[in-house]
Every structure is written in C-alpha cells, then in structure tokens.
Symmetry: C2
Subunit: 126 residues, 2 copies
DNA sequence: GGTGCCTTCTTACCAAGGGTAAGCGGACGG
DNA sequence: CCGTCCGCTTACCCTTGGTAAGAAGGCACC
C-alpha cells in the first residue's frame, strides 16, 4: 500500500513490504503470549514456559521460541546438565516489542465484553 | 498462565483465557494490515482495499473483513447499486485497536534493520 | 436480443501449516 | 535393568489458506 504512518508521513513501499512481512512474523498469537509471559516472569525454562501458556503444543512452543531467537527477541541458554535445562530470556529488543504489544493487551482486556456483545449481535441476526 | 498484567496486577484465569483467545483472533497479520489501511484511508470499498494490501487473496480479504465485522471492528455498508458497491469503515472500537497496534508498527519500522541483522547472525552460525 | 462486463463474494481443489502422540538421548534412582 | 527426567524431533493427519473459476444480475454495445 502507498500508506502513510499514523503521523501522515509517507512510507517507502519497499520498506512497507518489509514491515508487513515483519508484522506477519511477529503478530502471531503464540509469539505475543510468550512475550507477555517472559516479560512478566523473567527467565524461564522450556517446560515451565509451556505450563504458563495453556493450549500450546510442544511443537509450536519450540517453533515459536526458535523463530523468536532467530529474530533476536530472546536468548536461549543451554545448561549442560542431566536432565537438560534450557532457559529463555528476552533481549532488550524482545522487551521493547513486549512494551509495544502491551497496548494491545490492555485494549483486549478493556474491550472484551464489548466484543463479545458485538459477536452475539452478529450471530443472532437475520 | 497465572499471569500479571504489566503493572503486576494479578488476572483472573478465566478472563486470561478469554483475552488470549481474543488476542489470537485479533493478532493476525491481515487484520492488522486492514486496520492500518482503513485507519489511514478512511472508508474504502472491497476492491480498492485489496489493491492496498499486497499479497492478500480475495478469500482471505472477505474472511478477514467478515471476522472484523463480527467483532464490531468495522461496519460494512452495501449500496444497492449495479455493479455492487460495498464500503468498509472502522468503528470507534476498530480505531481504538488501530491505535493500540500503532506502537507495534512503529516498533517494526524502528527495529527492522536490527532484526534482519539478528536473522543473518542466526542463519550463518555453526 | 445476445454478448460481455462490472463487482463482490463463494466454491472446488490442492498445498502448506498446526495438532497429536510417540520416540530419542543419557545420567541417575530404585 | 528399567523407568524417569527434559527438551526437543518426527511421522501422521486434519484444518487452514491460496488459486482460480463461477454466480448474480443489471447495463452498454452491436
């Protein structure tokens, strides 16, 4: 899109496409939740992280964490002990993304009932 | 998760689950981009909207718009003319979500190069 | 009056992505 | 010697998304 940012400043289309891709990568349910949990709880190991995220599968947790590590959002520390212990901790970049998503969480909490009402209206109409 | 919000206030687990679901619904690439475009451009019709969102298919555009309408994020106005004309416009709720996502867009723009660098480091390592 | 076009969906079909569940590796407790 | 611990990984399947074609239906043109 030949978009403008919220201040009305025109954006280079090539940058625009890259940002869209990045948003596609990062605007993901699991990524957002991992971000939230790690921001609130600090360093955590794999299993505990999974326990704090109801509904996630091991596969998706692994995949999400790898992608986030690749993007530099978190650091994965392998402790060479038996049984294995792997800790995950947000980088400054990850923390800053967590802050950015914070507004979305607050929005979701604030508007939950309003959205449920809207859905109900939509579902029970001719 | 027995999470706390960013201010450290404990959250009811049931509310937590609902918020997670809502986030899963709303933290979607296409939803975010539609929100952005409509926030910047105001009312738009189907085809034009599609032209402003590179890479989206008609099917996903329809589906995304329906879901957003269901959630009360936008209003769909059908003008009974031939050929058909359908306009989409954000509600106040949709605009407020756009504001909330605004921080994420700015984050993405600001940290684009840093992320690309991180990816490159990750991909070219033993 | 047929032919074709316009726009907004919808649908049939296929590929890709996510869920489930089982296995692996390797020390240690019983 | 067998089970258990944890962090993955993999094989299989089902759901989801992309592609492309069509439907609806009045209008313009020949």
């Amino acid at each position: 899109m030949t978009a403008t940012d919220p201040q009305g400043v025109p954006i280079d289309p090539r940058v625009e496409a890259l940002v869209s891709d990045l948003i596609g990568r990062v605007a993901d349910k699991w990524t957002m939740i991992v971000l939230e949990v790690l921001a609130a709880q600090g360093e955590m190991r794999f299993t505990v992280l999974g326990q704090h995220i109801p509904g996630i599968s091991q596969k998706m947790l692994t995949r999400t964490l790898r992608a986030m590590e690749r993007d530099g959002l978190l650091i994965r520390t392998i402790h060479p002990v038996i049984p294995p212990r792997v800790d995950y901790r947000l980088t400054d970049l990850g923390l800053s993304l967590g802050d950015a998503f914070c507004g979305v969480w607050r929005w979701a909490e604030r508007n939950l009932t309003q959205i449920e009402a809207a859905r109900h209206r939509f579902d029970s109409r001719p």
